[in-house]
Symmetry: C2
Subunit: 262 residues, 2 copies
């Protein structure tokens, strides 16, 4: 009798394959292979619902036993591998992922709409992956479907960005552009979040426009500031020097939506 | 001739002392010794301005050369140690701290005001240190000076909480209390952040009251919900299931301050 009484449902992940998945934590490997890793059951369900091309799924034996519905919803030909729980978290970026991860193809970049409807976000060099992911989740809460990013903004497929977005990255179109150039050629009102801008509580927000959020330390670059229709600010009642970039984005979007839907 | 041409300004940190500082990353050691570690020049300046009892300062030789003003503002008797840059980040919790850290005494807990003026925050089990620190920064932005925490809320002196608060922790009084008991005996309006609450864009906020924010996964415990005067919610325009706890706190405070200062 062999050691394992329970036969594996799927092939065991090879060492070579494990290395190749682990490498996708780095942007250069994601770019070279146009693929990214997504961890956790809920995120993978969001991925499936949004028609991303899943290349392979790696899960623990118990995950596959308990989630036959997810396996059934995978496109034909998706590779499935089993891995021991202790090995799974070493493959990805999160020690708390004890169930499953997927490797999916990065969709081909598309050109952003030159004049998108409603609120569009423009991020000028957001560096913290948690901030970017949180901003994507905020965009999804406020029904914002387009985010324009300067090329200095952290990569969308960074595992921490995807994690912080809580699945919302499948609902929002993210475009990396030459931000000053895009804004110069754009006919929409452009509102920049600046500490010395006009207070937003009674600002007359336009129906359609772009909200620019700057880098965590250096703010918005001068070439982008030159494109502003107006600079706006969150009124301060206490002493803190600033708000976190994601926090500020939420407060500004909330004021914009409130005023435009009154 | 010796190896070191530049003589150290201050004593070199001993190995025993280094271990004792490193241990303060853990709550049990902070509690036992009523002391905490704070990293980075700006945070330490905030600490000095707020009259915390600094027990010792550990910095790189170049930090002391460039920051004689900080050294001069230390109370007499503060111990000062030099350490090589490569060792400094190993002492604390942040690899990007390359300059200085301080060990300070945790102030003795005080009783919260039973009827605080303006907005008071109550946190029911916030677990993520980054969220708690960001909430402290938000409180400081909106002029909120009291935060009540359930005993299940992450420790204020966790290094990641202090870091995310960006120095604002010195401006806000944080009290750990039996939250249901405090709220039951409190005569102020109590507003709970709930996904199915009344929309805040036109909610008639009171002049004084308590805003309750729940745990990231489990929300607000039933015993606290029973004390609510009203449940309030941020209007949603898109698809995300929820907003991050710190993000939601900011949007709710912004609406409260806007309506009360109109």
């Amino acid at each position: 009798m062999g050691k394992n009484l329970i036969e594996a449902l799927y092939p065991i992940l090879s060492k070579r394959r494990a290395t190749s998945i682990h490498q996708l934590a780095l942007k250069k490997h994601r770019l070279a292979r146009a693929a990214f890793v997504l961890e956790g059951k809920k995120s993978i369900q969001a991925l499936l619902a949004a028609d991303y091309a899943i290349q392979c799924i790696v899960g623990t034996p118990s995950f596959f036993v308990e989630n036959q519905d997810i396996v059934a919803s995978l496109p034909k030909g998706t590779e499935i591998f089993e891995v021991k729980q202790a090995l799974l978290s070493g493959l990805g970026s999160f020690v708390h992922n004890h169930e499953v991860l997927a490797v999916a193809a990065i969709p081909k970049p598309t050109q952003p709409d030159p004049s998108p409807a409603g609120i569009t976000l423009a991020l000028d060099g957001i560096q913290d992956p948690g901030n970017f992911g949180t901003i994507i989740r905020i965009a999804d809460w406020y029904g914002i479907t387009t985010i324009l990013c300067s090329r200095t903004t952290v990569d969308l497929y960074n595992p921490k960005v995807l994690q912080a977005s809580m699945g919302s990255f499948v609902k929002v179109n993210v475009h990396y552009v030459d931000l000053p150039l895009y804004l110069q050629s754009c006919n929409l009102p452009i509102l920049g979040a600046m500490l010395d801008g006009k207070p937003v509580h009674d600002f007359l927000f336009p129906a359609h426009g772009i909200l620019v959020i700057g880098n965590e330390s250096h703010g918005i670059q001068p070439a982008v500031q030159q494109t502003f229709t107006a600079a706006i600010a969150i009124p301060r009642y206490g002493h803190a020097n600033s708000l976190n970039a994601a926090t500020a984005t939420a407060v500004l979007c909330d004021n914009w939506k409130r005023i435009r839907s009154e």
